[in-house]
Symmetry: C2
Subunit: 242 residues, 2 copies
Amino acid sequence: MELAPLATRQCQDCPIRTRAVCSRCSDDELVALEEIKFYRTYPAGSTIVWAGDAMPFVASVVSGCASLTRSMADGRTQMVGLLLQSDFLGDPSRTEARFDVTAVSNVLLCHFDRERFARLTETNAHVRGRLLEMTLDELDAAREWMLLLGRKTAQEKVASLLVIFARRLGQQTPDGLQFDLPLTREAMANYLGLTLETVSRQVAVLRKTGAIRTQGARHMLVPDLDALLGASGDDDDGDVLA
Amino acid sequence: MELAPLATRQCQDCPIRTRAVCSRCSDDELVALEEIKFYRTYPAGSTIVWAGDAMPFVASVVSGCASLTRSMADGRTQMVGLLLQSDFLGDPSRTEARFDVTAVSNVLLCHFDRERFARLTETNAHVRGRLLEMTLDELDAAREWMLLLGRKTAQEKVASLLVIFARRLGQQTPDGLQFDLPLTREAMANYLGLTLETVSRQVAVLRKTGAIRTQGARHMLVPDLDALLGASGDDDDGDVLA
DNA sequence: GCCGCGCCTTGATCCGTATCAAGTTCCCGC
DNA sequence: GCGGGAACTTGATACGGATCAAGGCGCGGC
């Protein structure tokens, strides 16, 4: 086989490398993945899978933002995971989805046939190791979020979420870290265990105290990440979110 | 080697079989584990490891109850995991603890040298598979708990926790499921994101409505698990806790 | 340009849980 | 049995966030 160097391979636009497979993967491994992958877009607001549905694929988020949510019979819902670019969705060994997966913004997913991906993890120690590693990271993130949900104030919750976005999405500018919120106030509320009104008010407070600056409801600028971190209640440089 | 049948092996008192390794494990696998295991007891209230400490072992809970907790600088704490008999503690690939691990009651742990256990998981597909499976179960449990922390009322939270104990610890009697609470009101509060007073009041409410009967603060009888489930806000037969 | 509809903000009020404060019961050692 | 302390219960009050209720803003369609 005549293959281009890894870095310039066709797969480079597909971030599966960074999370499930990584840049240390051999060409053979990438070729195997190449054969079973396909792309699909989901419009904002659409459901990718419902809890309990058959899960014929695993996938990597190429662009956009998706959420995992769990709901109660009376309609109360809690977001239990947030998937941003390069995050991985699904579990090769599970045939059905455990949570609703929804496209928050327009989402482009790179799918892999679940069974064939599972076979790959069996034969490929590197991919398998990455998978366990990712699962453990998600578990840590979930537990970190339990502290937020159980013990933080509304102010701290909102600040914590903004810190996550600033780190994952922020562009460095002369004025500080800059990014566009991928979530509506309602989606933020569902992630933080609050109502949308409370989120709105707390964003206003953070704006007044100077921890953030805004242009419109979604465009954010964080002049001083440490100040925002202070408002989030995390003393250390916490490692939140998968 | 002359080995007794699996079911009567020396390891039978060590529930590592049920969670990390299982009854399908071959004798060879058990022998390998046998060689690296050792027991240790921790008195109620003592700390097993602090977050950030080196983690020289993984372990299985033989008896008693331990908790994983995460705290903030000002002392607010949230329990992020609860370990009961046959639960597994630690992660072979991680050298330091992510959370404080505390003995809630007197705890007997069956330890395994972490590095040697890790080597075993590399060579042994069965043990490795169990490990990933367990991690995924814990992740699901953590996410289920996020719904509880973010969206349930105090009443539903307390009922949910009692359902878990009834299922894991309950003895069937003519009057219903019977068990002793392994947690103090304060520990329950830390797990549920409440205060101990609120927990106490909600237990009182459940007693008045007949969902539970009590003898002293810790001894519980659940005459009708479905009634308690109703109070917990879970419609289905939810699969909480690792 | 202007209309309409999400999305967001802000205000007023309510309610559930936290907080503060006594008591009471249980349990353990002597 | 008796004393002491931890765990628990119960009451009164405070307060943060939910709820209810108007607007305001921004953006896409025509």
